[in-house]
Each structure stands twice: as C-alpha cells, then as structure tokens.
Amino acid sequence: MQQLIGDLMRTFDLAQSPLRELNEELHRQTDGSNEAHWEVLNPRGGHAIAVGIDAPIKVDVRGSVGYYCAGMNKKATVTVHGSAGPGVAENMMSGKVVIKGDASQYAGATGRGGLLVIEGNASSRCGISMKGIDIVVKGNIGHMSAFMAQSGHLVVLGDAGDALGDSIYEAKLFVRGKVKSLGADCIEKEMRPEHHEALAKLLAGAGITDAKASEFRRYGSARKLYNFNIDNADAY
C-alpha cells in the first residue's frame, strides 16, 4: 500500500506490500524525480531494503533492518531509524547512509564512495575491503575492521577492536579512543595538517560537533607487505 503524503513524500508500508514493490518503485526514481522523499514503515529486520537506488532521493526507514540495507547505493540519502544488520551500505558508490542505532558486521564493505555514518557502534569487519567510501562511527568498532582496506577513510570516535587495518592498502583510519591491536602491516602514522583538514571535513559531513580532529590518531599501511618477501612470511 502506498499513499501520497503532501506533494513529495511517499510512504511505503512493508507490512502491507512486498519488498519487491518497494525496490522497484525506488529504482524508477531518476535525477529529476518529484517523489524525492520516501518513508518506509515496518521494515521488521527485513533484508535488502532500499538496495540499488540510483537517484538523489531521501529514504527514511522507520525501524531496524536486516542484511545489506542500501547496498550499492548511488546518490540517495538513506537513514535507518533503528539498527542495521550485516553489510549495510555494502559497495556503496555515492550518497549518504545514516544508521541511528548500531550496525552489525561488514558495515560499508567494499564501498567505493559516499558517506556512511553509524551513530551507535559497528561490529567486526567494519569497512572491510573499502575502496573509497568514507565511514564515520560515533561508537566503537569490532575486530578486523578495515581489513584489506584499499582507499577512503574510516573515522571512529570510540575504540577499535583487535587487528585494526590488517593487510591495509591506502585507506586512512582515524581513531579517537583505544585500539586494542593493529593488524599485519598497519601502523600509527603522523597526523599532518592535511589529515587534520580531511578529518575535520569528515566530522562536519557527519554532523559531529563534539569531537575535534586533534583528539584522533591516524593509522595506515606500513607498505611492507606490498611485494612478497619470504622473510615477512610470519606476518601473513
């Protein structure tokens, strides 16, 4: 069941209509869409909600979602007013995804662009294999986060779990709290002016006003595993 609310906002109730119809409607939206604001009711932990959008629309999901919400998002702003299951915003290309609650494993996995904001905590493997996405987590993140992270930024206002940035490539990690341990080839790096500047922009983009760039430490690749060397075999 879909109903028109005002001129622009449409409400879609997943208790009344199937997921297929929701995604089909969202895929119909284009750059000039006049249905620019969508509200999704009763997500009830469902999977693959609002995936594959390719338009600058706004989607508010009123409740918690299951796997892969906003997967491969382009241009859209998707806000989950609840928590998100595994793989939220996986392979996001652009746009913005905001999780008001916590996020499960692999948040922002392989993301190539856009901004993912998690206002609660993120579980393990946050930002795994990230390829250009920016991720800002207000709480803590779990183990093996930014594993094989290629590019983009991961900003954590809380603490990071074990093996942060294992086998990292060129992604930049900023953590305000404690890091339980760093993974293979991940080291702490100097915060230079350009990093302060980039971090300040990311914090502003995520709407964070109570944290200063100067409170963070930066982590990145030691680049020692970029070319195979048998004497580094114990690091693999």
Partner: protein, 445 residues
C-alpha cells in the same frame, strides 16, 4: 690390473624425479613457493578414460549432417525473468582483465558472440572492450569486488557469484606487481606495481544462509532479471551443489582441478581439489535428489578440450560446459610458432605457464602494451569461433552416432570406462562388463 667391474645403469628415482629435484633447487634458491598459471598438469582420471558405445542393432543412429541434432541451451530458467539462450552449450569461463590483455578479452567476446555463446568477466571488473564485443556477458561477483559497481551489474546478462575455482578451491586471487599497470591499478583501486592477493572469502557473507540473502540482494538490485550462477571448485560436489540450490542459484558452475587460474601456488594447483570427472556424477545426483536436475542448470569446467569431452560431460548430466585454457590456446597461447621466444623464457611451447610474469610472447596473458599489440582481437576471435564450431560439430557427430537428435539427450548409458577408476568416478560400467565400482558388485557381462 684388477678386472673391470661392470657398472649399473644410472637410475633416476621415481620419487625424486627430475621435476621434483628441480623444484627443490628452485625453492632453495629463491625462498618463494612456485607460482604459475593453468590447471593441474598431473595425470588424473579424465574424459579420455571414457568411450561412447555408439549405435548398432540395439540403438539406431541419426544421419550425420542430414538429421537435425539440436545444440541450444537455456540457462537460468529457475528464477530469472530473462534467462540466457545460447546456441551451443560451450561457454567461455571467467578470466580477468589484468590476467589477460584487453585485446585478449575482446577476442574472447568476439569469438563467443560469433559462435552464439557467452563469455565471462573475471577478478578485475568489466571492460568496455569486452562488453562491447560480447553478445552475452556473465559478470563475476568475486570476493575482491574489484571493479564491482551496480551499473556494470545491470549491463550484465547474468551474474556469477564465485565461491571457488577448481585450480585453487579455498584460495583467493593473485596478480603480481608486473601486471598491475596503470589501468589495472585504477580499475582495482590499488597502488601500481604491488603484488595483489585478493581474498578467498567474500567480505560480507559466510556460509549458505548468508549467501541466500546475498543472492536476494543481487536479484533486488537487478530487478530479478538476470540469472544468478554460483561457481564452486570441485571439492564436495554433492553437498556444495545442494547448498547452492538451497541458496537460490539459477545455474551452478562446477570447476574441476584441471581448470585454469591466472596464477597461484603450484602446490595448490596440483594438490587441492577433485578431478573434473569425479565431480560430475555427485553434482548431478545432488540435483536429482532435490528434484532440480535440468531446472537448475549445471555447467562443468576443468580440462574440456574438444567435442568428445563436451559430449561426455553432457552425457554425465551437465547442461553446458565452460572452457578457459582451450580458449586461450585457440587464440594463440603456447603456439609452437613462438618456440624461439618461449625458449628465451626458459620453457617450451605447450609448457609455458608463467602467465603471472606478464611476458607472454603471444600477447594474451600480459599488460605490456607492445606484447599485447601482437594479438589481433578480430583474427583471434575468429579462431576461437572456429574452434567452438568444431567442438560443436564433434558433439553432434557423437550424439547422432549414439542415436540422439539433441545433444542433451546423451546419457550415462551411452558410455563405458577404460579404467576401474574412471568407471567408479563416472559411474559407468568398465568396458565390456556391467561392473560399476561402488555401485554394483557384478564383474560379469
């Protein structure tokens, strides 16, 4: 002067043979395991160990060239709104841009399109050359997700979720620094010149329950139009096929240990995984037990070289096959005409497998622009099309001789085995007997 003592003839060890000793010396000298391309080179029971019975009094044949023998196949009939229709059941396996030159990828697309079949991307994303020249293109969804994006996903005709491959089931990708050119680096978001090892597991799902949800996501993104394949290496085919069906696959690609890779450890290629012949019957049994044989299509790959191999795979229950190494050979890989250049690389035509080094004189497994220029994609594509057509004619020849007007009507009953091992793996009788080891105890006629 003492009498001359006769010397024994020098005797090489069967255990420590020349190759084994050379590998020990190589390892001791370099400190790095041997990396190479291709599939298992050791002898394993294979399609050569099977024969077709042909028709006689108890079966009558069809007239070669005159009576129709259909070859077309439809893939993805289970859930996809737009299944793939192929004229022939011989597809081109996934090979990456990165491992192969852009010209080689284009040639594969051209050849496949002329012959009426599909080609497949690889661990590096989709190139415009390949999409442009491939009428039917399968887009691989790999653990690395290099180059993955929803636009290319929507441009694809099918999506292949790669869980594993026969050359290295349980292993990830590898592309060494020599082949990470500017363009490859950009497509993969990696620094140029690094040794790239891609992950062996997908970053955002583990296990069949997650895979089911991942497939749901891919279908939702592409509006349930495209067939979803799941590719697995030959390890536990009965259970892997059952789980792939459960996860929602339209098509299952099953790759035995002779299937090629662009590069991985020799120890992996030769010592992990099942021979292709050993994979097919358990996979088909699994589909039959679930009532899904022919509803979920099975593509078999790994060591398919000619029409006889295709016919045997189909007779054992496959819906289609896939070729990689044979397709590269058709393009011109390992051609004896390049013998002098292979010698300079310390190898011979037919043996060249250091594809990861990017110095391929045939211009196929390279990113060197000068070497890549040697391959004319139009001419090489034509060669591949010719090869595919010959294979198809060969399958038809065998099918007609066995009395079938559709190559998919070939069946195990058409076959016998030359060895006890092949009989047990293919579950067909040892030639001249009715004995199927592991199935019945009879050694008589």
């Amino acid at each position: 002067m003492s009498p001359k003592i006769p010397l024994t003839t020098p005797r090489a060890s069967a255990t420590f043979d020349d190759y084994t000793l050379s590998e020990i010396r190589r390892a001791a000298s370099t400190g790095i395991y041997d990396i190479r391309g291709g599939g298992a080179k050791r002898r394993v029971p294979h399609f050569d160990d099977l024969l077709f019975l042909g028709a006689s009094i108890s079966r009558y044949p069809l007239e070669g060239y005159r009576e129709k023998c259909s070859t077309n196949v439809t893939l993805g009939t289970r859930f996809a709104k737009k299944p793939i229709e192929l004229k022939i059941p011989i597809t081109i396996a996934g090979m990456s841009f990165g491992a192969l030159s852009a010209n080689a990828k284009e040639a594969l697309g051209r050849g496949a399109s002329i012959a009426g079949t599909s080609t497949t991307t690889g661990d590096g994303g989709m190139t415009p050359e390949e999409r442009g020249q491939s009428k039917t293109l399968v887009y691989q969804y790999l653990p690395s997700r290099y180059g993955m994006n929803p636009d290319d996903l929507r441009k694809a005709d099918a999506i292949e979720v790669v869980v594993g491959q026969g050359a290295k089931p349980g292993g990830g990708g590898m592309l060494l620094g020599q082949k990470i050119s500017d363009r490859v680096a950009e497509m993969r978001n990696l620094p140029k010149g690094i040794d790239q090892r891609s992950a062996c597991r997908h970053p955002d799902w583990t296990g069949p329950d997650d895979l089911e949800i991942k497939i749901l996501e891919l279908r939702e993104i592409t509006n349930w139009e495209k067939p979803i394949y799941i590719k697995v290496g030959g390890t536990r085919p009965y259970y892997d096929v059952a789980l792939a069906v459960k996860a929602g696959a339209d098509v299952i690609v099953l790759d035995g240990m002779q299937g090629g890779t662009a590069a991985t450890q020799e120890v992996f290629i030769e010592h992990v995984g099942l021979p292709t012949l050993a994979c097919i019957r358990p996979a088909v049994q699994s589909l039959q037990d679930l009532g899904m044989h022919r509803k979920v299509q099975l593509i078999v790959s790994g060591g398919i070289r000619n029409g006889a191999d295709v016919a045997k795979a189909l007779a054992l229950g496959a819906d289609a096959v896939s070729i990689g190494i044979a397709a590269l050979a058709a393009l011109g890989d390992n051609d004896p005409a390049l013998e002098a250049e292979y010698e300079k690389l310390g190898t011979r035509a037919g043996c060249y497998d250091d594809w990861h080094e990017g110095r391929d004189p045939a211009g196929i497994t390279t990113q060197d622009p000068e070497l890549a220029k040697r391959l004319d994609p139009v001419r090489a594509g034509r060669r591949l099309a010719n090869f595919l057509k010959v294979m198809t004619l060969e399958v038809q020849t065998i099918a007609r001789a066995a009395g079938h007007n559709n190559i998919h009507n070939l069946e195990p009953e058409d076959l016998c085995a030359l060895t006890i091992e092949a009989a047990a793996m293919a579950r067909v009788p040892l030639a001249g007997t009715s004995w199927i080891p592991g199935v019945n105890g009879s050694g008589g006629l």
